[in-house]
């Protein structure tokens, strides 16, 4: 009995799925009339002439002798799933209700040992609401404090943290000194990194190192900085003004840490320096313009100019409830001069690679987080027909599609009595 049950589950999970005749936005460029074959959690083929793939007598795609679930891809485009890197997905439900917000650990401002993934709620209603529009992975950023803690990388599927969290330590989020100048933030950060280095070097004499510590950070927080010291995990910092970014680049060089700069409204002014330093920037093409005195030179062409200069550009909505607008964000980057391919890369591959996530690719052997769009992926007219996360097709329902269903005819809920 037990055996039969296990066997039937293994059979129910089709061994492979084939999207036939789609326009595939692969890591190597756009391929028309492609056949994307997904098996297990990976893409295993991009054409019917690939090894292991053949057509059976009725023209159905087979992979290693298994007949795949066939998806007619005629007229569709398939891209890697979109990745929103500036979200609080899973750590907020209703922003103004503080009990639903878990992204701010509170307490001591030096919180390097905080991992926001521990507060991640994979059952948040926000998650399906984003993924039905093609967002498959996200970076979840903690907030608050001088150092807020570790941002997480998540896939927008799975009922447990164990399933959903792809990376518990995707980046160290720096909040900075509240109301203070950047000069103060950089000085305090240097002290903290120094303390961490001392502690690591003389871990045999922890007590005297901690007594000599100047930053006031706890041992756990200093320990948590080791991956940052090693450059294994980037520091995620915010800066819009060109001169602030310049100061951060100098800091990173001096301290030997890796950076990701969020905001970068005036990035185009120092695009070459950013490119040279190989520092990824997270930008929003919908930025208002001179919205503040640190954004006086902001312009809509910023993403395009940065990309042209060779900067690693990540596009972001900077939204949580509407991370689903990544498509519109990318469309606006194109409006500002980016190519559609570069804009899609900026919300897939560059986003995931910068944070060390395994997603964001459409390539044989890569993790299959994919979206099959009804048409051009950046057009308002298209929408996801199929969404794969880690190889599995996910439901295209959300709390909002259910609300629509409930009120498609009035009076809606509660239903009229018979």
């Amino acid at each position: 009995m037990m055996w039969a049950l296990v066997g039937s589950i293994a059979f129910a999970a089709t061994p492979c799925t084939a999207v036939v005749g789609t326009t595939a936005w692969t890591d190597d460029g756009i391929v028309e009339s492609a056949t994307v074959v997904v098996a297990g959690e990976r893409v295993v083929a991009l054409s019917t002439s690939a090894a292991d793939v053949r057509l059976d007598g009725e023209g159905r795609v087979q992979w290693r002798g298994h007949t795949c679930l066939q998806i007619d891809g005629e007229g569709t485009h398939t891209t890697p799933g979109f990745v929103e890197v500036s979200s609080q997905l899973g750590v907020t439900e209703v922003d103004l209700e503080s009990k639903t917000r878990t992204y701010d650990a509170g307490g001591d401002p030096m919180r390097a040992s905080v991992r926001v993934a521990d507060a991640y709620n994979p059952r948040s209603t926000l998650i399906p609401i984003q993924r039905v529009e093609g967002v498959t992975e996200a970076i979840v950023q903690p907030r608050g404090g001088f150092i807020s803690g570790y941002a997480a990388g998540v896939q927008l599927a799975g009922a447990s943290q164990a399933e959903a969290v792809l990376s518990w330590e995707a980046a160290m989020h720096v909040g900075g000194l509240e109301g203070g100048s950047l000069a103060g933030t950089l000085a305090s950060l240097s002290e903290m990194l120094d303390d961490a280095r001392n502690l690591r070097r003389r871990s045999d004499d922890m007590r005297s190192v901690m007594a000599a510590s100047v930053s006031g950070a706890s041992r756990a927080d200093l320990n948590a900085l080791y991956p940052v010291l090693d450059g294994r995990v980037p520091m995620l910092v915010s800066a819009d003004r060109a001169s602030s970014m310049e100061a951060w680049l100098r800091f990173a060089d001096r301290e030997g840490v890796r950076l990701i700069i969020s905001g970068a409204s005036e990035g185009w002014l120092i695009a070459e320096q950013l490119a040279q330093a190989k520092v990824p920037v997270i930008v929003d093409p919908l930025v208002y313009g001179p919205g503040g005195f640190d954004q006086m030179q902001a312009r809509a062409e910023n993403p395009a100019l940065l990309a042209e200069a060779g900067v690693r550009v990540i596009l972001s909505t900077f939204e949580t409830h509407n991370a689903r607008n990544l498509k519109q964000i990318a469309g606006n980057a194109v409006r500002g001069g980016m190519t559609p391919e570069a804009a899609v890369t900026a919300i897939t591959r560059t986003a995931s690679e910068s944070f060390g996530l395994p997603s964001g690719h459409l390539q044989v052997g890569e993790r299959a987080s994919l979206v099959v769009w009804s048409g051009q992926p950046l057009s308002f007219a298209s929408h996801p027909r199929h969404v794969f996360i880690g190889g599995e097709q996910v439901s295209l329902e959300s709390r909002q599609t259910r609300l629509l269903d409930a009120y498609r005819t009035l009076p809606g809920t509660p239903p009229a009595l018979p």
Binding site: V94, D95, L96, N322, R335, Q400, L410
Partner: protein, 453 residues
């Protein structure tokens, strides 16, 4: 006229508060023709290779055939381009929360008392906000600037042309009705909950009902006074009764009296379906009509009621979830209101959103289509033009491309519902105010910012 206003009616006195001091530039050079463009009129017409001819600021003709151009009119080649009416945003805080963001620029909420109908957004509005130029670069020719939503009754809004001026009054859209901003639900009770109230929704309603009760009494006093104005004094037998003592003026009451008389159009910030119903009960009790609910994320739940009472819905394409009353927002809100025969509008409430109202309408449009709601491109266009004009009471003069209406016109690089399209040229009342080829932003904030460092 007497400076003290003796012998004047309330309406005559109010007029004084509306006089301008800055000379308003008359429409000049407003004679031109766009030829060969796809013209979307927002009346349901689409003319391929059509034309729009504007003479002295007003639309003289729109159609599919070529006009050859007026004698001496400049002809603009519109081949491959699109033409629509100027866009209208029913909900903006440009000017009252201007850029660059600064504490000194926070002029949108008179959060000193929950009921402040006597304040006017116009008096906070800073015409140097660089957002104005960015709004017209997005095709917006008219915007409705509002006080914020901290207060139960926040004050008067103002309908403005998006044009350069030294003071807000010179931007006033000619003859547009006055409007009032009210708010229900979470905001007022959050702001005043620990400052003397209201702290509950029932407190909100009491505050609003009391204000209108007072206004009824105030109006009655003035009616009595005005009726006595023709009187002959003395009070002897056989003569008219004497002129009564003039009631003192009250700016808060004057605004509310305008609402009771239907001169001032109520614009109510409200999210939840039941909150909107409460507001409609309030308006029914005091005999005025709500002109537009703003944000109105749950309008879809009461779309039949809103359509029946001709209350328009100014909403977003997809904002939701930032507070409890915004938890049930869905992307089909505007489309469902439209389907029920209501008046749907996409507004911005955002200095960023106002730059791309066409994109917001496009998202709401395609969300509706995906749900199987019958819609066409004209409907989506009306959400940001004709219907918005209706909410502001200016539907007879702008909002569509029709003979005799103002030359509020946008020439687009492509279809306005496509993400990559942008306005190339924008005219307000026939005068070109934006041209993509010439980035000549008119805000003083921007002057000198690019000087060699």
């Amino acid at each position: 006229m007497s400076q003290t206003g003796a012998g004047m009616t309330l309406e005559m006195l109010e007029e004084r508060g509306l006089r301008g001091i800055e000379p308003v530039e008359q429409s000049e050079g407003g004679t031109w023709t766009i030829e060969g463009a796809t013209v979307l009129t927002a009346t349901g017409e689409r003319y391929g290779a059509g034309h729009v001819t504007v003479v002295d600021g007003l639309i003289q003709s729109v159609g599919s055939e070529s006009q050859g151009g007026e004698q001496g009119a400049s002809v603009i080649d519109g081949a491959g381009l699109f033409v629509t009416p100027g866009l209208i945003d029913t909900h903006s805080h440009l000017g009252v929360y201007p850029a660059p963001g600064a504490r000194a620029h926070s002029d949108g909420n008179e959060a000193t008392a929950p009921t402040t109908p006597g304040v006017w957004a116009e008096h906070s509005f800073w015409p140097q906000d660089p957002g104005l130029y960015r709004a017209i670069a997005g095709g917006v020719t008219t915007l409705h600037a509002l006080p914020g939503s901290a207060n139960l009754i926040g004050g008067r809004g103002v309908t403005l042309e998006v044009v350069p001026a030294r003071g807000s009054r010179a931007m006033r859209f000619p003859d547009a009705p006055e409007t009032i901003k009210m708010a229900c639900g979470e905001n007022p009770k959050r702001v005043y909950g620990e400052r003397g109230g209201p702290s509950t929704r029932m407190g909100n309603l009491r505050g609003q009902r009391e204000a209108y009760l007072q206004a009824q009494e105030y109006l009655a006093k003035w009616k009595e006074y005005e009726a006595s104005l023709g009187g002959g004094g003395g009070g002897k037998k056989g003569r008219k009764p004497p002129v009564k003592a003039r009631p003192s003026r009250d700016l808060d009451m004057e605004t509310l009296v305008g609402v009771l008389q239907g001169r001032i159009l109520p614009q109510i910030h409200c999210y939840r379906a039941d909150d909107m119903l409460s507001m409609m009960q309030l308006s029914d009790e005091f005999g005025f009509k709500v002109r537009s609910f703003h944000h109105a994320l749950e309008a879809y739940k009461i779309r039949d009621v809103l359509a029946e009472h001709e209350v328009s819905v100014s909403t977003w394409a997809d904002w939701w979830g930032f507070k409890m009353e915004a938890y049930d927002g869905i992307q089909q809100n505007a489309a469902l209101v439209h389907e029920a025969g209501g008046i749907a509008i996409i507004h911005s409430d955002s200095a960023v959103g106002i730059q791309r109202l066409n994109q917001e309408a496009a998202k709401a449009y395609y969300a509706g289509l995906r749900a199987g709601i019958e819609l066409d491109e004209h409907d989506a266009l009306r959400w940001i033009t004709a219907n918005a004009a209706w909410a502001l009471g200016i539907q007879d003069v702008t909002g569509t491309l029709e003979e005799g209406k103002r030359g509020d016109v946008v020439l687009w690089s492509g279809h306005p519902l496509e993400v990559t399209s942008r306005p190339l040229r924008v005219w307000v009342n026939g005068v070109e105010r934006y041209n993509y080829e010439r980035e000549d932003a008119w805000s003083d904030v921007l002057i000198g910012q690019e000087v060699q460092p």
